[in-house]
Symmetry: C2
Subunit: 413 residues, 2 copies
Amino acid sequence: MVKLKGFQKLTLTDQALETWMRTWRVVNSQSTVVSLQDALSRILAEDLVAKESLPRFDKSAMDGYAVKSSDTTGASQSKPVTLQLTENQEVKNGQARQIWTGNPIPKGADAVVMVEETKKIGGKLEVWCQVTLWQNVSKIGEDIKSGTLIAKSGTRLSPYHIGLAAAMGHSELKVAQKPKVAILATGNELAEVGAPLTGNLIYDSNKIMISAECKELGAQTTDLGIARDNVDEIAEKIREALKTHDAVITTGGTSVGGLDLVPDAVNKIGKPGVVVHGVALRPAMPTAVAVLEGKPVLILSGNPVASVIGFEVFGRAMVCRLLGMSKTEPRSMTKATLKRKVVSALGRKTYVRVLVTLKGDELFAEPVSTKGSGSISTMTQSNGFMIVPENREGITEGESVIVHLFGTVEVSS
Amino acid sequence: MVKLKGFQKLTLTDQALETWMRTWRVVNSQSTVVSLQDALSRILAEDLVAKESLPRFDKSAMDGYAVKSSDTTGASQSKPVTLQLTENQEVKNGQARQIWTGNPIPKGADAVVMVEETKKIGGKLEVWCQVTLWQNVSKIGEDIKSGTLIAKSGTRLSPYHIGLAAAMGHSELKVAQKPKVAILATGNELAEVGAPLTGNLIYDSNKIMISAECKELGAQTTDLGIARDNVDEIAEKIREALKTHDAVITTGGTSVGGLDLVPDAVNKIGKPGVVVHGVALRPAMPTAVAVLEGKPVLILSGNPVASVIGFEVFGRAMVCRLLGMSKTEPRSMTKATLKRKVVSALGRKTYVRVLVTLKGDELFAEPVSTKGSGSISTMTQSNGFMIVPENREGITEGESVIVHLFGTVEVSS
């Protein structure tokens, strides 16, 4: 626990997340059936099990000739075996039938001789090598046996899952319904994008940015607009949203100007209300997490970068659970060599924005330095987070670090 | 050049790609204007330039008091300076006005003293430290100056680009229209997913899988169904599709059973037709690339894994160019330690499917071994490709390799 002005104490990041996640469960896990065409990136809501074996039948793995393996015993280039070519359904002793990759093995045959190891002479075939039982044959169920678990419930469906489901004849899949997340911005200083900007107003950017993050993970979002800095107005909007949504996210109104309008509003609505407020996390210290009517409420800072980091830690975990995933989906990860030393505060988990670049065969991570950490431009100039743990005061130049990627790696020439 | 049965020669992968890309241009680059709400993952069709400076005005970077910096000269904890608190719009000599992070600096003030460095006594303020000109002030344009390039045309829009665009008051963005890609499967052995499966038929899985890959990149796709193994039928379907699409992709009918039905069909339609057929690429050797009516036609293998690798190399490049991106978007990349040696053929670029796992602070890549490489289950069991270049015969165990990730890294406990 770290003492801090404005907070009686800060809760360690992992502990805050654990406490919050322990306080709510998914109330209404709903699933829906979608066609394979619409299944990309959706989350499986049931185990995907092989309906049948793949291959469905013994098939040739090569272009060549289906034979009885015993007929090829002792065959070699200097001492070829000669077989009779047939086009019948069944291959009998002393016969060979032409076959292409993927074709079913004809009745009677139990191996395939590659075309390269043969020579066709009239209606006969010279075989230059011996094949063993089932050589060059993909046996039924060799890739997947009927009943095999292909992907667990909670898996995000890639093009390859969809391909595999298709190969097994699934034309539809049961996936999680998109959880409904309502997002509220708070602050007298905010104007909606598109509105005229007067005086000292600034455009709200958090709401639409956090909404995009939710959508990227697979949630649907509702824009609750901007609430003024007024506890009753904020409380009313959250109370209403909880009736029809699975979760609420707010931005601003926490530890602003010495006031905690949103935490106060949440605590006014009901129990347990705020379960953690103030996290030993940089730069998202004022984050608060709450539960109302058994549903999660995430209270993010109004500072754009702090709201992004707060969402990264708490919002991803929330949306992934609402989607029925068994654990929080990690970002892509890479190891990279840190190009410049980074200083952090002991006792805080620190998210450092870095730009990862590939130079030749080496990956480098360059911290994106800025005077004020609050500008969202630091997020568009970087492509990943390096996380400095609480027990370190920084990372030295040249150290090999894990980076959690949110953008594509720059390829430097 | 490598000689191979069935192909007079194989073309090196990079050379094949370059030859193809040189032979066509984007004919009709179309853009469309979307609201910020709909801009996620779309591709910018014009440079995004800062409409105004951020911050829009000089603002406080701290909670504290706005002052004239000259009034604090020499102040220290043992020798504080005492200022008069004011609530007026303007701060005059000897005055201080309370200010919160993000608030505009009042007229007359030129610095902010942090609240921690002060003590309020009645209507007066003790200041315990000296501040310099513009200390604790975020100056206008400090984050972004009006006119700064935020993101180039061709950039894929992340939540953070959207947030930054919102902060600058853009409510809409000009993005690339989704290119139209038509996808045709070929093969007498194929049945549509959902149809009853009789005899030795198998379900087509390539079409829907490649369609999902196209969609993931940002294209829209048309399912052209399954063509029988008949040059005229294939040619007719491709010819029709070219009238209303930006590109055509086919699967199967290349180097199958000694026949090249799709390349023959394409060459029948017009010039230049097939520009490369047979690539020194494993496992996608039968891939062919063609151009008809100035539009790209990609001829993939019918083997599911070969079609995936063929798309990875040629399809991604094609869709990215159609989207107006200046270069092919790379996958996420990571360095990992190879857990088992991999053998490959000299002269071929080889895509090896690997499963990348994080163990403690180390990333490992384990080749996903299979007898037959054709099963798409090897794609769902892995999360990345390791690419073995043409000049190597394999990679030794323990070597540090670059992996191109298509799935999330497994976290092992």
